[in-house]
């Protein structure tokens, strides 16, 4: 990998921040995480209470990237074919009408309102990057990114995503409420423009994103950092509050996300800080807590924070440099 790729990564992030910043205010950290996910080639689950701008963020990013975009509203009567598409009879012949899944960026709003069957068909597409409709397997476009949102508070009429399927999301992003200044800027922006998304320019394209993905895969991960990643993931399995810790897929996800984070920071090598920066987003939704500990207030956030505090990062090399005897 060249220094140029690292610089391109940094510029890509700056461009996206500048473009989406015209519509989205006070969500710098979630935006950075979302862009990291795109560069890492993963899908993101945006989870937070209503009204914090989950959908707006997803749409602003897709507009800035200039990719094809489709939105699916999760409802209990949403069928798998509503997502994947189906054949219809037209002038005596069947014609396949592709569903919204065939867009570059698919925003699945309130994914937990869709039935488990629809959810699993969608999540299968996320994993395989292809769908099989009526016996025919069709490839999904590249890049293919699913941005799903869910509201963790409103539970009535929802179907919780099974843990195995949550694992398919590279990261879970929580937006949180903006600070006072951010909230004031949001109000001003809506006063100035009827639809803030109209202000978002297209600053990238599919080719640029795919090139960055390629570059991200070549970002150097030193053996110490590799060991650190593995130790973090393994530590989640041994934590007293956890029934089912992060899977080996989580190690891979953490590895790839850290690489993308390093690239976007303008580096061609991963620092332990990159790993720590994305660990919460990558690991939290993959943990299944022990129910008795959960009843006593244990949370996935708390587990990851404890793991980050507990896992040591060795700085002294095993063999070099040799200590000097006095």
């Amino acid at each position: 990998m060249t220094d140029g790729a690292a610089a391109r990564g940094q510029r890509f992030l700056a461009d996206l921040e500048s473009a989406t910043g015209r519509a989205v205010v006070g969500a710098e950290a979630p935006l950075r995480l979302l862009v990291t996910t795109l560069v890492a080639g993963g899908h993101a689950l945006l989870e937070d209470v209503p009204g914090v701008g989950k959908t707006l963020l997803a749409r602003a990013v897709s507009m800035a990237l200039g990719l094809s975009f489709a939105r699916v509203q999760g409802t209990p009567d949403l069928l798998p074919t509503d997502v994947t598409g189906s054949s219809i009879l037209e002038r005596g012949e069947f014609r396949f009408v592709p569903g919204p899944i065939f867009a570059n960026i698919v925003l699945v709003d309130e994914i937990n309102r869709a039935t488990p069957r629809t959810q699993s068909s969608l999540l299968e597409a996320m994993q395989e990057r292809q769908v099989t409709v009526e016996g025919v397997t069709r490839d999904l476009p590249e890049p293919f990114i699913v941005l799903a949102t869910q509201n963790p508070v409103e539970l009535e009429g929802t179907f919780a995503l099974p843990e195995a399927q949550l694992d398919r999301f590279l990261v879970r992003i929580r937006l949180g409420y903006p600070d006072e200044d951010g909230e004031r800027r949001i109000s001003r922006r809506h006063q100035a423009a009827a639809e803030p998304l109209d202000e978002v320019p297209t600053v990238a394209d599919a080719a640029r994103l795919l090139a960055l993905r390629e570059a991200a895969r070549t970002v150097r991960v030193a053996s110490e950092v590799e060991s650190y990643i593995v130790a973090l993931v393994r530590a989640t399995r041994e934590h007293r509050d956890v029934r089912l810790g992060a899977s080996p897929r989580a190690s891979v996800s953490l590895y790839r996300t850290a690489q993308a984070a390093a690239l976007l920071a303008g580096r061609d090598f991963v620092l332990p800080d990159d790993v720590r920066g994305v660990a919460a987003a990558v690991l939290e939704h993959r943990l299944l807590l022990d129910i008795d500990r959960e009843l006593r207030g244990a949370t996935a956030e708390g587990v990851v924070a404890e793991v980050l505090d507990a896992v040591e990062l060795a700085v002294e090399p095993a063999e070099e440099p040799a200590p000097i005897r006095p």
Binding site: L79, T115, P162, I291, L295, R296
Partner: protein, 407 residues
């Protein structure tokens, strides 16, 4: 303090006029007293921090929760006497302070009072323990901080606003059923299935007026030359709602503030245990009770949802309900009938005589719901009332339960 200084000045003047040096001694004492007192009045409350930390924000009934209280005098002026009165919701037992005084100004609050003398920059941490916590939602704080001067006179006070909450969920215990050959709880299905699961495709049928276009099976329509619609299997997912009857006395109107505390706590433990059991079996479980939970809503309601994460939410709701009913149990069940999908199982949990709640449950059964009743009174059992009735027994008691037996 101005009075003391004026007195000192007057004494000095008199002493000088009368050539009486003794008066100067008295004046010096008065002035010294005034100055020292002013020092603590002005600076005493500055840079004093108070922190209250709970070992856990949630606990299970019967647990012991650590409570650390830290006070830090972050200045060079020593504090001869600092007292912090922390308000605690009634019902918490502090191991190190078995007798907590009532707070005068707040109802249902107790005072955890601590006093210290702190030297410059001294920080003290006290480790308390909240023992054998009872089910409920508790609040700790705000705290009132009072500082006295060297002579014990009130010099300054301050209010530390921060509040800490502790939610104590009821204990959930393994459920056993006697006799064991009987169908497990909640598996009894509704008499008719009105809800089809679109995920369970079972075939086609002729198109009927009112069928949506999305329901039309286009390929079969083309093949048959006539419009046909998809047919789905009925929903298989079990939805169980536990309706808790918070009224615990038979002959008392729902608005009266009379209740049987033991019976109510038993209801909560039984509800938590059943919910956990159903969720473990893969059912979607919800819970409803006619009770205020600190919000204006008259019904404590948790929508049905599957997954073990629901256990914590059920516990949270049960921690917040109280034994005073906000509406009659019948009204709660009527509300549920409008809210639940047909085919759901309603498990009514009550401490009252089965015959009191039987009419409303029968009505609910006729509306297309599966109905079961579980009573914590010893007289409950059998099917004589038109729906299955079980009696629940916690062993050995609700305070330290290790099992729930249904018969």
């Amino acid at each position: 303090m101005t009075g003391w200084l004026a007195l000192a000045a007057a004494l000095v003047a008199t002493g000088a006029a009368a050539n009486a040096p003794g008066l100067v001694v008295v004046a010096a004492i008065a002035a010294g007293y005034a100055t020292l007192t002013r020092l603590w009045t002005r600076f005493g409350a500055r840079n004093v921090s108070y922190e209250r930390r709970l070992g856990a924000s949630r606990a299970v009934a019967g647990d012991s929760v650590a409570l650390d209280i830290t006070v830090w005098n972050r200045k060079p002026l020593p504090l001869p006497w600092i007292a912090v009165d922390d308000l605690l919701t009634e019902g918490l037992t502090v191991r190190e302070r078995p007798d907590l005084d009532h707070a005068d100004e707040r109802q249902h609050r107790r005072l955890l009072r601590n006093t210290w003398a702190l030297t410059w920059f001294e920080r003290v941490i006290r480790h308390f323990h909240l023992d054998d916590v009872r089910r409920g939602a508790y609040e700790l704080g705000p705290a009132r901080l009072r500082i006295r001067d060297l002579f014990g006179r009130d010099a300054a006070d301050d209010e530390v606003e921060g509040r800490t909450t502790l939610t104590v969920v009821p204990r959930s215990v393994p459920v056993t059923q006697v006799p064991t050959d009987r169908a497990p709880l909640g598996e009894r299905r509704a008499p008719s299935s009105l809800v089809a699961d679109p995920a369970l495709f079972s075939g086609v049928r002729p198109f009927q007026a009112g069928d949506g276009l999305r329901r039309v099976h286009w390929r079969a329509t083309a093949r048959l030359g006539a419009p046909v619609s998809r047919r789905y299997e009925p929903a298989r997912g079990r939805t169980v709602v536990i309706a808790v009857d918070v009224q615990t006395l038979d002959d008392v109107a729902h608005w009266e503030m009379a209740y049987d505390d033991d019976a109510f706590e038993t209801l909560c433990v039984v509800a938590a245990s059943l919910a956990r059991r159903y969720l473990d079996d893969g059912a979607s479980v919800g819970i409803a009770a006619a009770s205020f939970t600190g919000t204006p809503q008259r019904i404590a309601w948790l929508a049905p949802r599957a997954g073990m994460g629901q256990v914590a939410r059920v516990g949270e709701l049960l921690a917040r309900i109280g034994p005073v009913s906000s509406m009659p149990f019948g009204a709660l069940l009527a509300w549920l009938a409008r809210r639940l999908p047909s085919g759901a199982t309603v498990v009514a949990l009550s401490a009252r005589d089965a015959r009191v709640v039987a009419p409303v449950l029968r009505r609910l059964g006729r509306s297309g719901f599966a109905v079961e009743a579980i009573g914590v009174a010893s007289t409950w059992s059998g099917d004589a009332l038109g729906f299955p009735v079980h009696a629940a027994h916690l062993t050995p008691d609700w305070q330290h339960p290790d099992g729930l037996r249904l018969s």
